[in-house]
C-alpha cells in the first residue's frame, strides 16, 4: 500500500471502520436489488452465527463493482448467478481458446470459489396475467405465436440485449412487435391492462402481487441464472466455519421461497435483515439475532455525517492540489494546456466507470468515493485558478515587477488576491458538483445520502428517496451560502462591484 493510498484509507475510515475483537473479519456484499440484499443479509447472519465479525456492504452499485471488490479482497463473499458469471463477467475466459473449462476452473484462476446452487433460478421469463393467459389458453412461449394481437411491453434492457427480445423473437418466430420501457413501469402497464405480455425475472415479487403466469420457455431460449454464493478461496482457510455455514443454504431456497422473501421485503416493506432472520429460523434452523434496527433520525444523522465527510475531504484535497496545479499551468503555458486537458478528460469519465477503476487501488467504501469526488473536483478549480491568473491585466503584472517584488511575493501579494474571485467561483462549482456526485458513493458502499436514494429506488419507496434527495439538496444550498460567506472574507472589497 502506498503512502497516499494509506492516507486516503485512514482519512476515509474515520467513520466507516469500526473494529471489534473476536472472530475473523468477513465482509459480505450485495448488489443494488432486493433479492441480492436479502441473500446478503442471510449470509451475514449465518457468518455472524459462525463467530465471525461481519460487515455487510449492502446494495453496491452493480456486478462490475462487486466482482472487482471480491477479486481485490475488499469483499469476501456475495450472492451471484451462474448466468451472470458465465455470460457476462467471465464470458471471454469461458469461451476462450482453451475451451471446455468449467466455471469452477475459471473461478479458481481468479482466486475464487463458489457454493453449489442455492436452489432457485432468477432467469429472464415471459409472463402474462393469469386471467388473460387462462382465457387464451396460453401456457408456453410458443403459444404466443397464434396471438399476434397481443401487446408486448419489455424492460429496456431486454429490448436491446442480443440474448433478449431479438433472439427470443427469432427463436420462437414471434409475430408481435415490442415496446421498451422501465421494468417497474412495464409491470404497471400489464397490471392496468395497457399491455398483455411482459418480461420478468422469475423470482420477482410482482409475479405474485400482480397474479402473473410465467410462460414455459419450451425451447430453452433463456440462459439459466442459478443463484449461488461466490467467495474468496482464502476465506475457506481464514474462516472455514463461515464457509460451512453459508454452504448450509445449498439446495435450500427454491423459487417459491425466494419469491416469498422478495415479496415480504419489497411489497410488505419488512426490513431485509428481518426477512433474512425469519427465513433462517423457519427454514434453516438455529438461533439468529437480527441486526439492530436503526432509528430514522439516527440514520439521517449518520448519512449526513458520511456525506459531509466525503464532500469535505474531497473538496479540501481538490483545493490543495488544484490551486498549485492552476498556478503552474498559468506560469508554464505549454504544461498548462496539458494539465487543464487532463483534468478535463477526468471530468468526462462516467462516475460508475471511475468508481470501478478505483476499486483495485483503494478498495470499497468511502475511499473510492472520496477519490472520485476529488478527481471530479479538480477541473473547475484548476481551470479557474489558471483563468484568474492569466486574466490579470498586463499593466498590473508590470507594476508588480517594477516595484521590485520577487516572483513568489508577486504571486502571494498581488496575483493570487487578484485571481481570488475567479478561484472561489471554481471552488463553489466543485463543491456543488461534489454534493450531488457524492450520492453515487452509495454504489460502492460509501453511505451518504445516496444510500436512502438507492434503497428507495430499489423498493420503489418515494419517501425513502426524498430522505436522501432533500438533505442533499439542502446541503448544496447550505454549502453555497457558506462559501458565499467565505468569499466575502477572502475577496478584497476593491475587487467587488462598488456599493450602489
Amino acid at each position: 500500500m502506498t503512502d497516499a493510498r494509506a492516507a486516503i484509507v485512514a482519512l476515509a475510515c474515520l467513520s466507516a471502520c469500526t473494529s471489534s475483537g473476536g472472530g475473523p473479519r468477513v465482509t459480505v456484499a450485495s448488489k443494488a436489488f432486493t433479492e441480492s440484499v436479502i441473500l446478503g443479509e442471510v449470509a451475514a447472519a449465518l457468518a455472524r452465527g459462525a463467530g465471525a465479525d461481519v460487515e455487510h456492504r449492502r446494495q453496491l452499485g452493480g456486478t462490475e463493482i462487486v466482482f472487482r471488490a471480491l477479486e481485490t479482497g475488499a469483499v469476501d463473499v456475495y450472492p451471484e448467478y451462474t448466468g451472470t458469471l458465465t455470460l457476462e463477467i467471465l464470458r471471454a475466459e469461458m469461451t476462450g481458446t482453451s475451451g471446455g473449462r468449467t466455471l469452477a476452473d475459471v473461478l479458481t484462476a481468479h482466486g475464487l470459489r463458489a457454493t453449489r446452487a442455492l436452489g432457485f433460478h432468477n432467469n429472464y421469463g415471459i409472463a402474462m396475467t393469469e386471467a388473460r393467459a387462462a382465457a387464451l389458453g396460453i401456457r408456453r412461449i410458443s403459444d404466443l405465436r397464434a396471438h399476434p394481437e397481443l401487446r408486448v411491453v419489455l424492460s429496456n434492457e431486454v429490448m436491446s440485449r442480443a440474448d433478449g427480445w431479438p433472439g427470443l423473437r427469432a427463436a420462437y418466430a414471434l409475430p408481435q412487435a415490442a415496446r421498451g420501457m422501465d421494468h417497474d413501469l412495464a409491470y404497471r402497464a400489464i397490471a392496468g391492462g395497457a399491455a398483455d405480455v411482459t418480461d420478468v425475472y422469475t423470482t420477482d415479487a410482482e409475479i405474485r402481487a400482480h397474479g402473473l403466469r410465467v410462460l414455459d420457455d419450451d425451447r430453452r431460449f433463456f440462459a439459466a441464472y442459478e443463484a449461488l454464493f461466490v467467495y474468496r478461496a482464502d476465506l475457506a482457510t481464514r474462516a472455514p466455519a463461515v464457509v460451512a455455514a453459508i454452504a448450509r443454504l445449498e439446495g435450500r431456497v427454491d423459487n417459491a421461497a425466494m419469491i416469498a422473501l422478495n415479496a415480504r421485503a419489497k411489497l410488505d416493506h419488512v426490513p431485509e435483515s428481518e426477512v433474512a432472520a425469519d427465513f433462517l429460523t423457519t427454514h434453516i434452523g438455529g438461533a439468529v439475532t437480527p441486526a439492530a434496527r436503526e432509528r430514522v433520525l439516527a440514520t439521517i444523522a449518520a448519512r449526513a455525517t458520511e456525506h459531509t465527510a466525503m464532500v469535505a475531504l474531497s473538496l479540501l484535497a481538490a483545493i490543495a492540489v488544484a490551486v498549485p496545479l492552476g498556478i503552474v499551468a498559468a506560469r508554464r503555458p505549454r504544461l498548462g494546456r496539458v494539465v487543464v486537458g487532463v483534468a478535463g478528460l477526468l471530468q468526462t469519465v462516467p462516475s460508475l466507470a471511475l468508481l470501478v477503476l478505483l476499486i483495485p487501488v483503494v478498495g470499497i467504501g468511502s475511499p473510492p468515493a472520496v477519490a472520485a469526488l476529488f478527481l471530479y473536483g479538480l477541473l473547475p478549480i484548476v481551470r479557474n485558478t489558471h483563468a484568474g491568473l492569466v486574466g490579470i491585466p498586463e499593466s498590473l503584472r508590470v507594476s508588480a515587477r517594477a516595484l521590485g517584488l520577487p516572483s513568489a511575493a508577486r504571486l502571494r501579494l498581488v496575483e493570487l488576491p487578484l485571481a481570488m474571485p475567479t478561484i472561489v467561483a471554481g471552488i463553489k462549482t466543485s463543491a456543488v458538483i461534489a454534493v450531488g456526485t457524492a450520492t453515487v458513493g452509495a454504489l460502492v458502499g460509501a453511505g451518504g445520502f445516496g444510500q436512502p436514494i438507492l434503497t428507495g429506488i430499489r423498493l420503489n419507496d418515494f419517501g425513502l428517496i426524498l430522505q436522501g434527495a432533500l438533505p442533499a439538496a439542502a446541503m448544496a444550498v447550505g454549502l453555497e451560502s457558506l462559501l458565499a460567506a467565505v468569499e466575502r472574507r477572502v475577496v478584497p472589497r476593491g475587487l467587488r462591484p462598488p456599493a450602489a
Binding site: 498586463e394 507594476s399 517594477a402 516595484l403 488576491p417 476593491g494 475587487l495
Partner: protein, 250 residues
C-alpha cells in the same frame, strides 16, 4: 544614479521600438522624453528597469550593465510609475503605497511615518488613504502611484504619461504639483510625454524622439531657438494642441 543607453535596439515584431539609441540621463535633473505616439519613449523606461531586454547594445547603471540576476535590488532604487498608475485594485490607496514596505518587514510606526510624509508631499487627502482605486479620481490615482513609486526613496523616478488621462483642470493642478515635487526631491526624474507644454513646464532637458531615434536633445529653449530639422520645429509648434492620444501598453 547615472543611467545610460549605449547603442540600444529593441524590436517588437517587424519594426524597431528603439533603434541604436545612445542616451545619458544626468543625475539630479528632470528629463522629458518627448515625441509622437509610437516613437519608442515608453520602451526606454522599460529598458531602464529591465522589464524588456535590448536586442542589441546595453543599458548601464552607474557605468555597469544591468545585472542579469537580482534585478529586484536595482528596481527598488528606481521608482517607476506606469501609465494609468497601475494601482492594484485589491489594495487600498495606503495598501498600494506601503506594499513594498510590508514585504520588506518595516515596523508599523515606520510605515505610518513614511506614508504621512508621502501624503503631504503629494498633497493627497488623508481620508482617501483607506479608499480602493475604483473609489479614487484619476488625479488621486496618479498621486497614489507616485507615492508608491517614491516609497523606498529611490534615486530615480520614472513616470510614463502621468497626466495624459486627466481632464484639463486636474491636469494643470497635478502638473504644477509634480514640478514642486521634482524640485523639492532633487532626484533624477525621467518623464515620458507627448505634450510639448508639459515637457517645457517640467523638464530641465528635453529629448525629442521619432521612430526610435533621438532627433534632438537639450533645454526646451535651445530646441525652440535652433531646431535641428523641420520635424522639431513642426512638433514644437503643436504646443498643447496635440490630441491626448496615449500609447498602447506593450
Amino acid at each position: 544614479m547615472n543611467l545610460r543607453l549605449a547603442g540600444v535596439t529593441k524590436r517588437y515584431g517587424a519594426g524597431a521600438a528603439v533603434d541604436g539609441l545612445d542616451l545619458t540621463f544626468a543625475s539630479g535633473k528632470t528629463t522629458a522624453l518627448l515625441g509622437p505616439s509610437g516613437c519608442g519613449k515608453s520602451t526606454v523606461l522599460r529598458l531602464l528597469v529591465a522589464l524588456v531586454t535590448p536586442d542589441a547594445g546595453q543599458v548601464e547603471a552607474d557605468g555597469r550593465p544591468l545585472p542579469a540576476h537580482d534585478i529586484e535590488a536595482l528596481r527598488r532604487r528606481i521608482g517607476y510609475v506606469i501609465q494609468d498608475g497601475g494601482l492594484f485594485p485589491h489594495l487600498t490607496a495606503a495598501g498600494n503605497v506601503t506594499l513594498m514596505a510590508r514585504h520588506l518587514g518595516w515596523d508599523a510606526a515606520r510605515i505610518a511615518a513614511r506614508l504621512e510624509e508621502l501624503r503631504a508631499l503629494t498633497r493627497f487627502p488623508a481620508d482617501g488613504l483607506t479608499r480602493y482605486p475604483n473609489e479614487l479620481s484619476g488625479g488621486q490615482v496618479q498621486r497614489v502611484a507616485i507615492m508608491r513609486g517614491l516609497l523606498l526613496d529611490p534615486e530615480v523616478l520614472l513616470l510614463d504619461e502621468p497626466l495624459s488621462a486627466l481632464d484639463p483642470l486636474v491636469r494643470a493642478e497635478l502638473r504644477d504639483d509634480l514640478r514642486a515635487i521634482f524640485r523639492s526631491l532633487g532626484k533624477t526624474v525621467i518623464i515620458v510625454t507627448h505634450d510639448v507644454g508639459e515637457a517645457a513646464h517640467l523638464a530641465d532637458v528635453v529629448v525629442l524622439m521619432r521612430d526610435g531615434r533621438v532627433v534632438q536633445q537639450g533645454p526646451m529653449a535651445t530646441l525652440a531657438a535652433t531646431p535641428a530639422d523641420p520635424f522639431v520645429a513642426a512638433f514644437l509648434a503643436t504646443g498643447n494642441g496635440v490630441p491626448a492620444v496615449t500609447e498602447p501598453q506593450r
